[in-house]
Symmetry: C3
Subunit: 353 residues, 3 copies
């Protein structure tokens, strides 16, 4: 499987080199019609080596040319040499790949409230719903089965995948992508206990605000604020099945990997990375550029640039040392027993004297 | 952002004091049109202080009046003083907030089987489905995109949010709230292995029963029983992305926080709290009023009132002591080494003698 | 609750014995109309004992006959005796239970692209969508609210539950079951960082391939490959709320329990068991017949047949020993302190001499 050659644009290798601003080695007139992995690329495809892990596949690859880091610049084949091969790959793939086009206009099976405002070129797929008072910006695609509640604002060039739910009053910026099954604007989990231990619902009357260039994966739940807003800031990317509670803020250009849960009112900084299955307690501050390792349980605020891991989360290297020692716990116990026995012997000797 | 003033009812501060059964301090004739946080509340809004955490914001707040605990009773502004300010806030917000009204009747784009029985005032939103033999109680709102299978019973005054799925034969009580994306009645995960290690499906022919006043968050999966019922009892509140396996029972007035997973046939008691990302093994009993800390892995039954934490779960305080010691494991190891060296020296001395 | 007697077929006990290939004890002419638990089965139902756990309920059961393992062969009631009672139960339930029938044909509220090919007997429920170029095999049931994108291939006798999303280009084999809310073919989570720390999307142009006899639970997300395919192989069963990242392969007849997350490009072998809430790092190999215990964090490849547990995952028995020792850490610390004090005393004595 690789990028389809049929409808894809064709580039000469030298054109790619120029557009990607990378070095060319070899024949620049080679035509390139797609991109594929080393195993799958055909004789008109560009392939790529972004990690030494895959170097052993280079020799057998039928690819027309390779996108490589400088350390592979010695290869005797047509090359695009990039100091950031992964970034260049992203840009190359964007040149070749066009999202399947969505026809502008509203599918007749959909229900769009007459009071909703749709920009030019907006596509609303089959069996979708856009509620009263909504505003959808130019070029945005709302796929089939999407439910958009009342008074939702969506910017331009957004891509709302099938069966997404966006509830009343939420606001999305431009170029936001939301994947299928995700819910934006469900009620925050807020209850007060009465004297009988019954849970009295606190109405959740805030919204979710999602800024420009955010991407949200499949099956996520992003709760509306109790009051105010739950806020995902510009450029942040969220993976699948992530839970974001009411009144959380996630700063710009952060990464939230799959199955993370962030509890209420916590503030995540900019350029933060939360690895998979992390849990963060409520009302914390996670500083800019902090990194939280996979499955960590974060029960205290984390400083700018800190790198933590474990439950409860410790500085990354400290956790690794502790985890290494954990493995030797049974031996420590035996050594303790041995020391106790030997010490008792010495004590006996010295006492007898 | 705060509660909208336009359509909200207006209360005098003294009327609120009476309805909430809290003490009034200052001018009772002040008109209150909404509720907001200390930062956001305007001059006709009530604000609130439910925790000392936010006390520093009081001075700058433009709020007309504050709902506070007795310890803030000295403040020189109009006050509602409550011994349970969080509970009073919940009740105050319920006075001001009305769920966006849903028009009674069935949206013409929806598909309701003629054999289904809808109570008075029931609203079925756009592009929803109600299957054959269903019964829906008075005043219940079924939002757009909801799919309800055959022979489902739903009580009165329920709120089924967009894109929920409720499958054949399941039963919901009165005033149940289900948030978007949640699935009720998916098959339990039951397979028997044959001699080749292939998995033979055990048909899951039970149901899910959800009692009065339960609220279920977004993106949850609640499996039907193999035989019998998976049962969520009265007043229990479940957060987002929670997994409840076949034949589980969750007792009355319990709290299940986001991303918890409860394995098959486990019985959770009344007033239990399962914090975020907890996993509970199957066929266990979790006693009434037990509390399971975040991310815990529970592999044994938990007694009434027990408070446990960790994987495997230990009594809460014991876990905290162990976790604190875990952090010193590398030092323990060094100290062990040191003791061993010193003991060997002493042994050498005594042996030489 | 037990299997409904009304529409179910009737079997004589001796017929069941023959069809299940198990031993009969007692009157083979007893009519059996359903299956129920020991508590719920009525006088025309078969019940079962698959574990000693439930033996105490046998005496009171009103069941007409019991399916039991040989160790219960002494019971003085009509019995079906099976060496694999759980497997026999699965097969017996399959004899009695018929999936609620779905009427062949396309519900008039659904949208099926004219270029899609539907096999004979295909059922497309209400408010579903089947995109252009799709192919759906004979006897497959697509329930209401399902969204199927363009160029999707689905085999014969599949069961796609309500509100499932299957996106462009994905391929399903025969007899695949997908539960509600699940998303197949969402974009993989792939971004390259530019010099400003902004995340540049890598288009995800691969597919998801799901082979014959796979079952996927509710609320799962299975991402399409960056290039190539994410691949779930024959006979594998996946529980609810599972995250499978781009380019993952899961081998044949494996079990993936609820809330597991598998990171990109990891290869899971055949007959592997991943227990609930496990997280697996990317680019690993999990060997055939490996078993990963609940909540484990797997950060290294696992060999064929290995049984691991914990975060980071250790050999199962080793982890249990370490976890047992963890609980005694505070005591170890105290014993270390005690040893240090006593050793210092001895050192003092010997130094003074």
């Amino acid at each position: 499987m690789h990028l389809p050659s049929d409808n894809s644009p064709l580039f000469l290798l030298e054109e790619l080199a120029e557009q990607l601003q990378v070095s060319l080695k070899g024949d620049g007139k080679i035509p390139i019609r797609g991109i594929g992995t080393l195993e799958d690329a055909g004789p008109e495809d560009l392939s790529f080596v972004t990690s030494k892990r895959y170097a052993s596949f280079i020799a057998q690859s039928r690819a027309a040319a390779l996108l490589v880091p400088p350390e592979f610049g010695h290869l005797d084949r047509p090359l695009l040499i990039s100091r950031q091969p992964y970034l260049s790959l992203a840009r190359a793939a964007q040149l070749f790949y066009r999202s399947p086009s969505a026809p502008p206009g509203v599918h007749p099976s959909s229900v769009v409230d007459p009071s909703a405002t749709l920009g030019s070129g907006v596509s609303v797929g089959p069996l979708a719903h856009v509620g009263s008072g909504c505003s959808v910006g130019d070029g945005t695609v709302i796929h089939g089965g999407v439910y958009i509640g009342g008074n939702v604002t969506i910017g331009a060039d957004c891509l709302i995948h099938p069966n997404v739910t966006i509830l009343d009053g939420c606001r999305l910026g431009d170029r936001v992508i939301v994947h299928s099954g995700t819910v934006i604007g469900s009620d925050g989990f807020g209850f007060a206990q009465d004297d009988q231990g019954q849970h009295v619902k606190i109405p959740q009357v805030g919204i979710v605000q999602i800024d420009d260039d955010v991407e949200i994966g499949a099956g996520c739940a992003i709760d509306r604020a109790t009051f105010g807003r739950t806020w995902i800031q510009r450029g942040t990317k969220i993976d699948n099945l992530v839970q974001i509670a009411h009144n959380v803020t996630v700063g710009e250009h952060s990464i939230v990997v799959a199955q993370v849960g962030i509890s209420g009112s916590t503030r995540i900084g900019r350029h933060v990375i939360l690895a998979g299955q992390v849990g963060v307690v409520g009302h914390l501050q996670i500083g800019d550029r902090a990194r939280i390792g996979a499955q960590s349980g974060v029960n205290r605020s984390v400083k700018e640039g800190e790198d933590v891991l474990g439950t409860p989360a410790l500085p990354h290297k400290e956790y690794l040392r502790c985890a290494a020692a954990f493995r030797h716990l049974p031996r420590f116990r035996d050594e303790l027993r041995d020391l106790q026995a030997r010490l008792r012997q010495l004590e006996d000797i010295l006492t007898k004297e």
